[in-house]
């Protein structure tokens, strides 16, 4: 499994958000974090790769342009987690996860095997929520069920859009540790759009900073960020330092005036 982007443009409603974007080959078992300010195009790029949004250029999965792959093969390989599950549904969490498998492979009555569903609830520590209706769950819990819907299908490429945005610290770590395990154990590639830059620095293998309609910086977490990149990406004065355990961390000092940056 490998992923690369060549001269990719992505947008929505006919309006380009990103253009001329390249991403050197991402090897199997890697986590790529997409970071950047609001509106930088993180979600737009994920939707483009997932085949759900407008995208031009070459998105190459395992040496094949995904536009040339049959849709059913793409669905089997890619798992996409949108930003939110709706809150008004009377579905039970267990059947929401079951529907993810059965809807994707309706011809196979055993596709949503009970063991696979049970395993994903256990892996994510969601056993206590399994028999509760989605409308009774908090935003963070629904986000976890959404992630279970993606993971149960065992995709080779995971595209997660803000998977930790509604979660407390414990669940943020649970999600990213699970993704890390999936990448290490099964060789899956995971591309995550994420706002928490320190979580991104800690868990990703490659950091891609988006801004100004393209890539501002890209590379290993230790080298992809510096004060200048943070200033251009977010309009802030910030420092990148090493914590006592050796991870790079960003310490934001103050926001620059809006003349330098617009959200």
């Amino acid at each position: 499994m490998s992923l690369s982007l060549e001269n990719v443009s992505a947008g929505y409603a006919g309006r380009p958000v990103l253009s001329g974007l390249d991403l050197a080959e991402v090897p199997s078992g890697s986590i790529v974090a997409l970071v950047g300010a609001n509106g930088a195009g993180k979600s737009t790029l994920l939707r483009g790769i997932a085949g759900l949004g407008e995208a031009k250029g070459r998105i190459v999965l395992d040496g094949q342009d995904i536009s040339e792959l049959p849709p059913e093969m793409l669905v089997g390989r890619i798992g996409y987690l949108p930003q939110a599950l709706p809150q008004g549904s009377s579905l039970i969490a267990y059947e929401a996860v079951m529907s993810a498998v059965r809807a994707a492979r309706p011809d196979s009555p055993r596709a949503g095997g009970a063991a696979a569903i049970e395993q994903v609830f256990d892996t994510l520590g969601l056993r206590d929520l399994a028999m509760r209706r989605l409308r009774e769950l908090s935003g963070g819990q629904r986000q976890m069920v959404g992630l279970a819907q993606v993971l149960v299908r065992k995709p080779r490429l995971l595209l997660l859009d803000e998977p930790t945005s509604a979660l407390d610290l414990r669940w943020q770590l649970t999600v990213l540790e699970t993704v890390r395990r999936m990448a290490d154990a099964e060789g899956a590639i995971c591309v995550i759009a994420i706002h928490d830059i320190n979580l991104a620095l800690r868990f990703c293998d490659r950091l891609v900073v988006l801004g100004g309609g393209g890539v501002l910086s890209s590379g290993p977490p230790a080298t992809a960020l510096d004060a200048d990149v943070l200033r251009r990406a977010y309009g802030i004065e910030a420092r990148v330092e090493a914590c006592s355990r050796g991870f790079a961390i960003v310490l934001a000092d103050h926001a620059l005036s809006l003349d330098h940056h617009s959200p």
Binding site: R47, A50, L52, P71, E72, L74, V75, I78, G79, Y80, L81, P82, A84, L85, P86, G88, S89, S90, L91, I92, Y94, E95, A96, S99, A100, R102, A103, A104, P106, A114, I117, E118, F121, R127, A130, M131, R133, E136, G146, Q149, V150, R153
Partner: protein, 356 residues
């Protein structure tokens, strides 16, 4: 202590076993709805100006000749088609309402959201006002066929517009509202120029009545229902997944726009067939799915049949009520469903509001 033990038991049981409990409860609920519907059907047949005891009904159903000729005619030619039509139309509207609420992601959607009912009413009104002489076509079929043709024309127009400009939920609802207003304006125009007799007929038609039921018309609704139910059941998983939102469903490989257009076509067919023969009957398509959602949840394997059964039961009960509310008078069933439906609907909303 007991709660602690229960929690421990839940932890040790597999999720599949725990979910099996939900499935059993739902099957029981569907069974109860079916039994309630069977009882209501018999009671509907037994209710009317002349008495028809339940024992005679069962005897007559098994052997028509076992009843006196008069009773056999009442049973087979009047009461039974009337009662069966209530069940079929209720089931069609309940099923159509459930599918509509799912694909439009809106619990207030009903089979009539797209203006199909208004189009059928316009078709019926045109036939009443113009009274065209169509060779080979019985007069009693002219009005329903015209209603059906107009409803399907409106459906095809919406399908074309949605196919061309996108089948997003907002777009489809806006097309439906536009259709509703356009059809109502045309209906008022027809009513304005119609004769007094035709106008009276139109007003009566819009109240909805099962009294127009005959076995031939029952057969048409049954055929439409029989054609649509297997198609609905084939897409239960896709529709269940759609409850997680369009983007989730798309990421599972579900062609959401195509699914939505197909469901809308099916819903229009079901509601057009129902409305064409009995006139406008409100609230069944709105309340039936709500009852099913409250009792069965939104796994569409249970929700869709449950909505059809709940819709059938509601209209069958309304049919019984329409014969009993005013002694000696059979009220148009559309009036009863609205009168009973409004308080029931309010009660459901208030009950739902109190749930955690």
């Amino acid at each position: 202590m007991t709660r602690h033990l229960t929690a421990l038991q839940e932890r040790s049981a597999s999720l599949a076993d725990l979910y099996g409990g939900f499935i059993r409860n739902r099957l029981i609920a569907i069974g109860l709805l079916a039994v309630g519907l069977a009882c209501s059907l018999v009671l509907d047949v037994a209710t009317g100006p002349s008495g028809l005891p339940v024992a005679d009904i069962l005897t007559g159903l098994l052997d028509r000749d076992a009843l006196p000729r008069g009773q056999a005619v009442i049973l087979w030619n009047i009461r039974l088609p009337y009662a069966v039509m209530a069940v079929l139309v209720g089931a069609a509207l309940g099923l159509a309402g459930a599918e509509m609420q799912t694909v439009l992601n809106n619990p207030l959607a009903s089979p009539f959201t797209l203006g199909v009912s208004a189009a059928a009413t316009l078709g019926a009104a045109l036939a009443m006002a113009l009274e065209p002489d169509v060779p080979g076509l019985d007069e009693t079929w002219l009005i329903p066929l015209s209603a059906f043709a107009c409803a399907m024309a409106a459906t095809l127009l919406i399908q074309t517009l949605a196919g061309r400009f996108g089948a997003g939920t907002d777009t489809v609802v806006l097309f439906g509202i536009a259709m509703l207003f356009a059809m109502n304006a045309l209906l008022w125009l027809v009513q304005y120029v119609a004769s007094t007799d035709a106008l009276q007929q139109m007003v009566f038609w819009t109240m909805g009545s099962l009294a127009r039921a005959t076995w031939e018309k029952v057969a048409v609704v049954a055929l439409v229902l029989a054609a649509c139910v297997p198609l609905s059941m084939r897409s239960v998983w896709a529709m269940t997944a759609l409850r997680g939102g369009d983007d989730h469903a798309r990421s599972f490989g579900i062609p959401v726009e195509r699914l939505r257009l197909r469901v809308l076509l099916r819903v229009s067919l079901l509601s057009a067939a129902a409305v064409a023969f009995v006139g406008t009957i409100g609230f069944i398509g709105l309340v039936g799915p709500h009852i099913a959602r409250l009792t069965l949840g939104e796994d569409h394997r249970f929700y869709l049949p449950g909505s059809a059964l709940a819709g059938a039961l509601l209209l069958s009960l309304a049919s019984i009520a329409s014969k009993n509310l005013v002694p000696g008078l059979i009220l148009p069933v559309g009036i009863v469903t609205s009168l009973v439906g409004i308080p029931l609907f309010m009660a459901l909303i208030l009950t739902q509001g109190r749930r955690p």
